[in-house]
């Protein structure tokens, strides 16, 4: 079924009795051409682009829980292309362009909202760094605008501009950045992949990877063995465990990232704002909740919940930046498991095992990457060659010393 305004009217006339599930729930077959382990944003996008760009459809996505139940449904939904390092810059630029046509392409309302992002700066040094970043973005073909103090004061009147310690001196503005409805992105990719013949298999946990003479031959799952000559691991925070099933040890440590949402409020923040002092960023969801977050909890964790010190730090940073939010009541907080790499950048690559591919290490920035990552990973799985915008996300770059350290914080997993 194609979604359209006409369809809504038609369904209204028949009491909305004609809507159908968005995808099938097939039994797993005993063999596929390609298996994707992990039904998050990246896994579903990979399956979709394999079908759409490469005409393949004998594919299954194996998800241990339900589709979109992982980080793709737990993030703060910010989409942007304001990276500066070669490797990241071209990749996120490509991903943002895919986002811009995504809803029409998928025939799905992902509530993509290019409401703009303000990265605030509070010192001369930060201004210089943002000016440089802005130039890099423009050179890449994306948009960036350096705003002075008065311009920010006019556009974001609710900030504590004259804060004695952290005065707002200006911002780097990225107008094409914004937010999207995270669940809908997963659902949209799932529905379109399903329509193109991909089997989406839920409650199917991969428990082993079968390898014969250095070549992958299939996987063991809680719903039986499934054979395939090409297998992609796309399991975000669980990458180390699944890779270990193939005897691989990854440059990854899993960490917790928390987020928070307040009760629904009247529209008050119509954009995305990031604080340059103390890690804090905020937007307002279409339901009215203020959605905000900060840094990792900083210690290795698989708990999918955080601790109080970071919650406190995030609230303090928020109050320092925009005291007006102090009256809002926090409704919920949660955490997601982040696959942190030692340079903060991801991996889209082959593994030493023939036919086994890895898509991992998205740290806390993988939502904006969903279309770009799916597109590039599908290219790698289908052709065996690296897609140009993702060609630097190599697994062996750490051993080669060719890291992509966007934040220049050194090779420690929790510092990015």
């Amino acid at each position: 079924m194609r979604f359209s305004a006409l369809e809504i009217i038609k369904q209204g006339l028949i009491g909305n009795t004609g809507w159908r599930p968005h995808w099938r729930s097939p039994q797993p077959k005993s063999e596929y051409d390609i298996l994707i382990i992990g039904g998050g944003g990246h896994g579903l996008a990979t399956a979709y682009y394999l079908a759409r760009e490469h005409g393949l459809s004998n594919i299954a996505v194996l998800e241990k829980g339900y589709l979109g139940g992982g980080n793709v449904g737990r993030n703060t939904t910010i989409v942007r292309a304001n990276y500066g390092m070669p490797g990241n810059s071209e990749f996120y630029s490509h991903s943002l362009k895919l986002w811009e046509g995504l809803e029409q392409e998928l025939n799905y309302n992902a509530m993509m909202s290019q409401r703009g992002i303000y990265n605030l700066f509070h010192s001369d040094g930060q201004r210089d760094a943002y000016a440089r970043r802005g130039n890099t973005m423009i050179t890449q073909g994306d948009d960036a605008e350096l705003l002075d103090r008065d311009a920010v004061r006019k556009r974001l009147p609710y900030l504590d501009h004259d804060n004695a310690r952290f005065p707002v001196l200006g911002a780097l503005y990225h107008g094409r950045g914004g937010t999207a409805r995270h669940d809908a992105v997963a659902w949209g990719f799932a529905r379109s992949a399903d329509q193109r013949g991909v089997d989406l298999i839920q409650t199917c946990e991969v428990t082993g990877i079968d390898i014969d003479k250095g070549r992958v031959t299939g996987v063991q799952t809680t719903r039986g063995a499934i054979r395939a000559k090409t297998v992609g691991i796309v399991v975000a925070g669980r990458s180390s465990q699944v890779a270990a099933m193939a005897g691989l040890r990854l440059p990854i440590e899993s960490h917790i990232l928390q987020a928070f949402v307040t009760e629904g409020l009247k529209p008050c923040i119509d954009t995305v704002v990031t604080f340059g002092m103390g890690h804090f960023y905020i937007s307002q969801s279409d339901k009215g909740g203020l959605v905000f977050g900060g840094d990792l909890d900083f210690y290795a964790s698989y708990a999918a919940r955080g601790n109080l010190p970071m919650a406190e730090h995030v609230m303090e940073a928020g109050m320092a930046l925009m005291p007006m939010i102090g009256q809002a009541r926090v409704l919920r907080s949660w955490g997601g498991i982040m696959d942190m790499t030692p340079d903060g950048s991801p991996i889209i690559d082959k593994t030493p095992i023939e036919g086994l591919y890895l898509n991992a290490g998205w740290c806390y920035g993988g939502f904006k990457a969903v279309p770009g990552s799916g597109y590039s990973f599908a290219h790698l799985l289908a052709t065996g060659t690296h897609h140009a915008p993702a060609a630097r996300f190599r697994l062996d770059r750490f051993a080669r010393g060719d890291v992509i350290d966007e934040e220049a914080t050194g090779s420690q997993h929790n510092l990015h």
């Binding site: 990854l250 440059p251 440590e253 899993s254 900083f298 290795a300 708990a303 010190p309 030692p342 090779s411």
Partner: protein
């Protein structure tokens, strides 16, 4: 989360900074091959469950601590001075 420092006693997690897995205790000798440095700096077992890691008591005695911790439950099983382990 609270840690019991062998020197200072039971303290809030805010007093400590996490460095990483105990791998950091086993620095390769000068001249070791690149693979050894790669394993030391980057590769991790990354267990879901029991792990051993280094924390620094920066707002207390300043000691480096070897902490045995569960990454799923956040339970702390033991805290020792790291220097006792490397001696």
């Amino acid at each position: 989360m609270r840690l019991t420092c062998p020197v200072c006693g039971d303290r809030d997690r805010r007093e400590f900074t996490y460095l990483g897995h105990e791998t950091y205790l086993h620095r390769p000798p000068a001249g070791a091959p690149a693979e050894a440095w790669d394993a030391y700096l980057h590769l991790r077992d990354n267990p879901a469950g029991l792990t051993r890691e280094l924390w620094h008591h920066g707002s207390g005695c300043g000691a480096w601590l070897l902490v045995e911790r569960d990454t799923v439950t956040h339970d702390i099983l033991s805290v020792r001075l790291a220097r006792e382990d490397t001696a």
